[in-house]
């Protein structure tokens, strides 16, 4: 049996608990400990998890000797920490986004290349079972030719306002505000299905706080046209992906983990008004019942995409392969977000008034 992969964690927030829970299921991984500059957060998590605590990154590297470190800290620290780790010869998984700025992401990738180590990003929703089901359907040709990809990203009611009002959560202080914390998901989902973009168009609208709250992005992807809608205020909040194919289309509800396939049918006009609705209802009922059962018997947990991603990542790494999320994908997401910020500025109402 080969030696286990030694994994350490930086950052002891909510998502670290999810990573630990899933890493514990992986036989090829040995969890060596956790690290956070906030002694309170670190200590509480050390007692909760029973894992060793390291007071500094230096301690983690010297005493823990990790092969891989997961960077689960607030986004502004992702790139600096990834750089430090890669330069120390450690492979890195970063929570999304890879970096806040394109130049930083490029620097991280260059450091990985130089060190001969890998860096990957936790683009977890790609690995959600319902998204994988859509990807398999596309691969099997169920949709025919893919012509369009639409992703809708919403935000929970009040999430933005709360963070802004208190200005407490780190997400409120990110470039572009709380949007930054959500934007990765629709961007990488769109890129996965539509392919890398040859051109982008972006229109945004800002709130009176100056934070971007509405985004429309259109990408000329290598495989299809992709559109991303982000709306911080539309309620009830939705997270949806639609794949438009020449033979059929698929709609995924990421909040409720359901998938509907719509196929054209030659039906008499009267039945044609009724049948598609009944068919959709049946698909929804089946998927809902299946999900409820999966949760009830413990087969489905929260953040299933993180679990599936880590499983695939460590299977690949143990076999000497490449991480399933490329650094290039991480870079594109950061670059597109930069693009959103740049366009956002040109239509900011405050600036428009000032000029």
């Amino acid at each position: 049996m080969t030696a286990p992969i030694r994994v350490g964690l930086l950052g002891c927030g909510r998502i670290a608990r999810v990573h630990v829970a899933y890493l514990r299921d992986l036989p090829q991984v040995e969890l060596i400990g956790i690290c956070d500059t906030d002694a309170g957060a670190r200590g509480a998590f050390a007692l909760e998890s029973g894992l060793a605590e390291f007071a500094s990154l230096g301690d983690l590297l010297d005493s823990g000797r990790p092969d891989v470190v997961h960077v689960l800290t607030p986004p502004a620290t992702h790139a600096p920490l990834a750089l430090e780790l890669l330069r120390a010869g450690i492979n890195v998984l970063v929570e999304k986004p890879l970096a806040l700025k394109t130049a930083d992401a490029e620097q991280v990738i260059a450091a990985a290349r130089k060190a001969g180590r890998w860096v990957t990003v936790d683009h977890n929703r790609w690995f959600d079972p319902v998204i994988q089901e859509a990807a398999r359907a596309l691969e099997r040709g169920v949709l025919g030719d893919l012509v369009g990809v639409e992703v809708f990203q919403g935000a929970e009611a009040g999430e933005a306002d709360k963070a802004l009002a208190a200005n407490q959560h780190w997400s409120a202080r990110l470039p572009g505000g709380v949007l930054n914390n959500l934007a990765s998901h629709p961007l990488y989902l769109m890129r996965r299905f539509a392919g890398p973009a040859r051109a982008l168009r972006v229109v945004t609208r800002r709130s009176s706080h100056g934070h971007i709250e509405e985004v429309r992005l259109i990408a000329d992807g290598e495989r299809a046209l992709g559109t991303v809608t982000m709306s911080l205020r539309a309620q009830p909040f939705m997270n949806r992906l639609t794949l438009l194919g020449s033979a059929a289309s698929i709609e995924v509800n990421l909040n409720n983990m359901t998938l509907i396939t719509r196929r054209p049918r030659q039906l008499p006009k009267l039945i044609g008004k009724v049948w598609p609705n009944l068919n959709e209802a049946a698909q929804l009922m089946t998927a809902t019942a299946r999900n409820a059962l999966a949760y009830a018997i413990g087969r489905q947990r929260f953040y299933p995409g993180i679990g599936a991603h880590l499983q695939e990542l460590y299977a690949q790494v143990a076999a000497g392969g490449e991480p399933p999320v490329s650094a290039a994908e991480g870079l594109d997401v950061v670059a597109w977000y930069d693009e959103i910020l740049a366009h956002g500025r040109s239509v900011a109402p405050a600036e428009a008034l000032a000029s």
């Binding site: 002694a39 309170g40 670190r42 200590g43 509480a44 050390a46 007692l47 909760e48 060793a52 605590e53």
Partner: protein
């Protein structure tokens, strides 16, 4: 060379403060009751309640660290009042009169009101108003804290430090307010999700030393908590370090609260104090996060001894002498 008077220097926290200050090169005078050992440079024996003793103790020192208090859970209120409240007021008055530059009053987290479960509490939040139900110790510490804050309002160079649940070698954080062994189980009167505001004795001593030395700390109050540990996590870690084999059982606390209410009424009818009060159970149902950002920002304080290490030192069985 800085000289400091430490009251309660023979006590659990006092001894750690003495060691810490001496390590920093401060000359320490200890106010202790006659016969009590302490590792200070200079002893001053006597009672906290004796003004003549206090006047002698504060003469010629730069700092006063007031860590002395009556900490027992029983006894007449008058004794708590004179040792914890009146002596604090007098000590500050005499220290100011003697020209002492810095006074650090060691208070307690119990002074804060916890208005609801999961409350976030910081230094400027309201005092608890539980009154007599809180028990004499907590009530006297509340009044002493108010006396120290009143002295600040009068311009005295006082800093108030409010540490969490103090622990360290020789004093284990208790597993619950009450606990009972039941064969392979242990019944813990606590909520598994309750947050224990742990404060390791050496980390608190460091905060006090920083508060005494920092010019910014004059007139300020600081909460000192290392970690908010869930009760169940602590119990699990406790078992792991001590090798205990019991399994923790947590009773439904709402029922316990009902029981305590009835018990309290019954005892009151009999004109006596109940062994457990509804207020005490309320507090186990209502945990809070005590914000320590101010100590980190203004004093540069960090709990340097990590909690897992501190608990290992505290819970590990004492090595048998060779």
């Amino acid at each position: 060379m800085t000289t400091a008077l430490v009251t309660g220097a023979a006590g659990f926290l006092g001894a750690a403060i003495v060691a810490r200050l001496r390590g920093d090169g401060v000359r320490v005078r200890a106010l202790v009751r006659p016969g009590r050992a302490c590792g200070a440079d200079e002893r001053c024996e006597g009672d906290l309640c004796d003004d003549a003793v206090l006047a002698r103790a504060v003469a010629g020192v730069d700092w006063v660290i007031h860590a002395g208090a009556r900490v027992s859970t029983t006894g007449p209120w008058d004794e708590f009042e004179s040792t914890n409240v009146r002596a604090t007021r007098e000590l500050i008055r005499l220290a100011v009169a003697a020209g002492v530059g810095r006074i650090v009053h060691v208070s307690s987290l119990s002074v804060y009101a916890v208005p609801r479960n999961n409350a976030v509490v910081s230094e400027d939040d309201a005092y608890d108003d539980g009154g007599d139900e809180r028990g004499s110790y907590a009530r006297s510490k509340l009044l002493a804290d108010q006396a120290a804050m009143a002295a600040i309002a009068q311009g005295a160079p006082v800093t108030v430090v409010r540490p969490g649940l103090l622990y360290g070698p020789g004093r284990r954080p208790s597993l619950a307010r009450k606990s009972a062994a039941l064969g392979p189980f242990r019944l813990l009167l606590a909520s598994p999700g309750y947050l224990l505001p742990l404060a390791y004795v050496d980390n608190v001593a460091e905060a006090i030393a920083l508060a005494a030395a920092s010019p910014r700390a004059v007139g300020r109050a600081y909460t000192i908590v290392d970690v908010h540990a869930r009760q169940a996590d602590y119990a699990r870690y406790y078992r792991r370090i001590t090798g205990a084999t019991w399994r923790a059982v947590y009773p439904p606390l709402r029922l316990v609260r009902l029981g305590a209410t009835l018990l309290e009424r019954g005892f009151r009818l009999a004109g006596r104090r109940a062994p457990i009060t509804r207020h005490q159970v309320e507090r186990t149902l209502r945990s809070a996060t005590f914000v320590t950002r101010r100590a980190q920002d203004e004093l540069g304080w960090q709990p340097r001894v990590p909690v897992t290490e501190a608990l290992r030192r505290t819970l590990a069985p004492a090595p048998t002498p060779a």
